[in-house]
């Protein structure tokens, strides 16, 4: 099998705060193959954005820092690179787009200026960059690209701005695109357009995509594999069809169950009990234990292992054959289906 484009191993990113040390990313491992789309799913506060920022080494300083781990990109560890070397990587080999198109563009410079900048900082001469900028705007399905080059961000709608962001991120044909909740701030109709744009571009260029979202619907449409994050850790990793067919981890199950579509008319909506714990004080053993409907004594005392099970990975005692006193798997499965 070919070497994965990106391989993250035991990444730990911490944030120092007055109320203690927040272990935002606490032992995250995953890989993305060339041309693949990985969906990173989770609620806010679970550490998915911080994971993305860690890959780009844009963790907010001085409070945040990457404590340990490896980020292997095309075989070499990004964490070994100097600041200047990382600068080469950013925007050229890895591109990133963010959630808020409203504020992510500089309000006092034209679209053209900012688009050309993406290419000029990596060595392209200005005239060539300008021509390519117009091409890029066409490619992201924007009308009248020449006119757009002279306009300012506030003259564009949210959807248009996000397309510009995508154009900027793809300007240098990166191998990996990190998209941090790219459609959360947009209208539903625009969301669909942006997502299909990303899919088309991916088909054209063969790039990989790390798609971060809290929306399972988006994941279903876009991802090849899914990693579910909770409390700084990945609790389940599977191919998308398998995950949707039978989610294993109790948290994943809870997410699916709380989708309104699954509920029959007249029934109460299912909810996950409790709230996400504070990052400064993760529960000591299984982090989902306080909210888990299947928990038993071991869950509060022993942290679960992250194991390969049936072609996927799960972090739960329920699926760990070595754990002695787990209840019968069948009973738990029946619970879930009701």
């Amino acid at each position: 099998m070919e070497e994965p484009l990106l391989q993250v191993e035991e990444l730990r990113t911490y944030l120092r705060s007055p109320s203690g040390l927040a272990r935002a990313v606490d032992g995250v491992s995953f890989s993305i193959a060339r041309g693949e789309t990985l969906g990173l799913v989770g609620e806010s506060g679970c550490g998915k954005s911080m994971t993305a920022l860690s890959i780009m080494q844009l963790v907010p300083e001085p409070a945040g820092y990457i404590a340990s781990g490896k980020i292997l990109f095309k075989g070499s560890d990004l964490l070994d690179r100097t600041w200047e070397e990382m600068r080469e990587v950013r925007g050229r080999e890895i591109g990133m787009i963010f959630q808020e198109p409203m504020t992510s563009l500089n309000p006092v410079f034209t679209i053209g200026n900012q688009l050309v900048e993406s290419m000029v900082v990596h060595g392209m001469p200005s005239p060539k960059a300008r021509r390519r900028a117009v091409e890029l705007l066409k490619r992201v399905e924007l009308d009248e690209p020449e006119k757009l080059m002279r306009q300012y961000p506030h003259e564009l709608s949210g959807g248009m701005r996000q397309r510009v962001m995508i154009a900027m991120a793809l300007a240098n044909e990166p191998d990996l695109l990190i998209a941090d909740e790219p459609t959360t701030a947009l209208d539903v109709t625009v969301q669909a357009q942006i997502l299909s744009l990303i899919r088309n571009l991916q088909a054209d260029t063969g790039m990989s995509v790390l798609l971060i979202t809290h929306d399972l619907g988006i994941v279903a449409e876009m991802a090849d594999h899914v990693a579910v994050m909770y409390a700084g850790q990945i609790v389940e990793y599977a191919a998308v069809t398998e995950l949707f067919a039978s989610p294993c981890h109790p948290y994943t199950r809870g997410l699916f169950q709380s989708l309104p579509a699954r509920v029959r008319r007249g029934q109460d909506l299912a909810t996950l009990e409790g709230t996400v714990p504070e990052a400064e004080a993760w529960p000591p053993a299984c982090r989902f234990e306080p909210r888990c409907p299947y928990r038993w004594a071991t869950c509060a005392t022993k942290p679960p292992r992250y194991l390969a099970v049936d072609g996927r990975r799960v972090r739960c005692h329920l699926y760990d054959p070595q754990v002695a006193d787990r209840p019968a798997h069948g009973a738990a499965a029946e619970e879930a289906d009701r």
Binding site: R90, M96, T103, V108, A169
Partner: protein, 313 residues
Amino acid sequence: MLRYVVRRVLYAVPILLGVSIVTFVLFYATSSPEQMARRNLSAKNPTKEQIQEWLHVHGYDKPLAVQFRKHMTELFLFRFGKSDTTGESIGARMRAGMGPSLAVASLAFIAALLTDITFALVLAYFRGTYVDLWGTFQCVLLMSITALVYIMGGQFVLGKVLKYFPLAGYQSGLHAWKFVLMPAIIGVVSGFGSSVRFYRTVMLEEMNQDYVRTARAKGVSESAILFKHVLKNASIPILTSVVLSIPFLLTGSLLLESFFGIPGLGSLTVDAINGQDFAVVRAMVFLGTALYIIGAILTDISYALVDPRVRLE
């Protein structure tokens, strides 16, 4: 753009009207004319006739309504009349004083702008490090020292001890620079602390914005981020305080001019205070207001030039 300026100037008229009313109430209605006469007459116990004569010459003996009309028309025509103490034409005196004031103030202004922004950029670049923390603390220290100490100390050290510059005085023309340099330097130093701190705050606020994160994700270097992205955005709030103070280069600093014997509008005001010369102070207040309004209009125009989001209407 022109329509906007015209509209602003027209809007300034009721403001100036209000200011004139305020100054009129302040000067004419609150202190009795006899007191003013007494203060200005050199004789120890002026006789009734002497008081009456002085009041008549200066127009204080007419009924308030008449005085008000005279006051308003004169001000709006920029005919400031004669000084209460010296009797000379205020307008002429003011025109003579503008040159020296401008010389000192504009030198200090430009030098201060360059040094303050440079230091603020340095602190912003090293934000969070010891350089920044120490630098910011120094700024707070420097801005806690009163201007009086800067002036007296500066005059003492630079003029008396080191004898770099003449202590005070002024000569117009080519030799002016000798007399202008020390007050300008001291002016720059005394404003340094608070300006650098303010500019630094503005720059750091910009550095925390999302577009900086995007620029980094594109691979833009830290210095390009600072000098290109942050500086242009930061210049918008900085522009407010800077452009607003440009018209006041004409009026000059009261303290600097009185200490260093610069015969500008600032020392004219100080002399007027010492001599209880209401006429001059009235004129300076009106001039100051007019300059402020000009400054406000200039500021809005400069906003429109720098910030593409602003549209003057």
